[in-house]
Symmetry: C2
Subunit: 308 residues, 2 copies
């Protein structure tokens, strides 16, 4: 049972979640489970977004606390607090901060700090910090994959120190009120996340002592990070475009085609579409144009909603 991967979207559908609910689930569940954000920080992030909505309405409604409160079902007193928070931000030129980054900031850069604090010089043993006999060391080293980042294996308490330092750094960029104290619980959470993502590996030397090694130089691999970034940007653009489409903006065109494709024709179809789009863009592109447009497209498996 352990390690079974559950398709949250399918389970949610089976539980008869509505369309909008599926969208929320898709976003939130991935933030938490795949990207590794803390449960609480996602809740907080959304709460900031919701407060932002309140602040905007407040501005749009002529700074009327009561009316804003009615429109969103929030107490005027609370509206006032919220407005205060945002005016403060604007005043001090501080950035609007929800999650801040796609992956948890206190885990990003974990490898750098490790490499910085515990570098592995030349051909010294990775297990330098542990008192092992030569034969013990050889046995352990044999069980470690090759091509690992050049830094030393460390003890649990040293890893906690690294995490604490990282947490401290990530807090520096936050306004004073938003900072959260470091706690054992948080440290342990981070350790689990690092292990789970494969960034760190634990090697049990004996029942009481483990060595921790850095297994990857990033919380996520570089190219995957880049792809996730692209995904977020595409999604945001798509979101905005679709909002405009809902309002029947004539500058926006939306379309969808579903079709059955034979496996052996798939690659040809993909390639041809790519070429068609490229040619189309070349044909209509004009350097003289002031208006830039973007054409996004995506081919993916089509799952007939009714069939599920």
């Amino acid at each position: 049972m352990v390690g079974v991967r559950i398709n949250h979207h399918q389970l949610a559908r089976a539980m008869k979640a509505s369309d909008i609910d599926l969208l929320l689930i898709l976003l939130v569940v991935n933030l938490i489970k795949n990207l590794g954000h803390r449960y609480g920080s996602v809740i907080d992030a959304v709460s900031v977004a919701a407060k932002f909505a309140v602040y905007l309405t407040y501005l749009e409604e002529g700074k009327n606390l009561r009316r804003t409160g009615f429109l969103h079902h929030v107490e005027p007193r609370r509206v006032k607090e919220i407005v205060g928070e945002f005016e403060d931000l604007v005043q001090r030129g501080e950035p609007l901060h929800l999650l801040g980054s796609i992956e948890p900031s206190y885990l990003i850069g974990f490898s750098y700090i490790w490499l910085e604090k515990f570098p592995m010089q030349g051909d010294e043993s990775r297990l330098k910090l542990f008192n092992l006999t030569a034969s013990e060391r050889l046995i352990v080293e044999a069980s470690i994959a090759a091509n690992l980042p050049k830094c030393l294996a460390i003890r649990e308490d040293q890893m906690y120190s690294l995490i604490e330092e990282l947490h401290g750094k990530s807090q520096d960029s936050l306004p004073l009120e938003k900072r959260t104290v470091f706690s054992d619980a948080l440290a342990e959470h981070a350790k689990f996340r690092l292990l789970e993502s494969g960034t760190v590996q634990e090697i049990k030397l004996n029942p009481k002592l483990s060595a921790y090694i850095l297994a990857k130089t990033d919380y996520s691999p570089r190219d995957r990070q880049a792809r996730i970034h692209t995904m977020i940007q595409d999604l945001t653009r798509y979101f905005e475009g679709m909002y405009a489409w809902v309002d029947e903006d004539p500058e926006v065109m939306r379309g969808i085609e579903t079709l059955g494709v034979l496996p052996e024709q798939k690659d040809a179809a993909f390639q041809e579409l790519d070429q068609l789009v490229r040619d189309w863009a070349d044909k209509y592109h004009s350097e003289a144009a002031t208006q830039q447009i973007a054409l996004q497209f995506l081919i993916s498996r089509h799952v007939d909603v009714l069939k599920i």
Copy 2:
């Protein structure tokens, strides 16, 4: 100042929100401001999604409360509560409910209940329920748009009754624990939302008395609703496709082209693309194929991120 429309995305960008934060803002702010969901219900909805993530991890990790807690930074005891909630849902076959519907359920169908409770028979006056002299009535009626739904104008207290009944109905579909009591504050919120969306109009008869008329048969116009629905579905599909793309799924192809287009060529370009895509789909479509694919595309204004 009142009624000024603020582009939340631009303001958020100006406040240096990160990419992922912009995405969250786009979603949450629109749920609250444009679709009219209560502040609290959006928070709750996300909280349910987050709890769903916890539940999924719990299942995937072999029903290990503690480990699940560490992975998401939630106390094991809380994990247990959350798991209990979901097992209950599954057990009783109850649907997973976050927002439930794209627009607030207690406002959808407002016009139906009005038409049902206060229908306007034949050629009787819309203001039947108000004691007005013939001339007063004519003056007021002249100020009302033609072609309104055939139902009577009502008093404020009657509108509150309608809202209460509607709230009651929407609660029926919820499990017992999730129900919220009706309150004056909630009623007033609904009233403001109805007025703001233009579903209901207020006509001041005198300083102490207002008549309320139903100005539209829907909280949102039908075709707009349909578009919003399409948007949510497209977004969800796009989301899923992009997630697969991140994992380098070979069945997924993602692309984007940006170009400058002269206004006079825009329509031709749009039409040609439409045709190209159609032809491409026809060419590769095979009835024999078991695998269905979907090609989504969207043209929208391209805003260079760097320029903002």
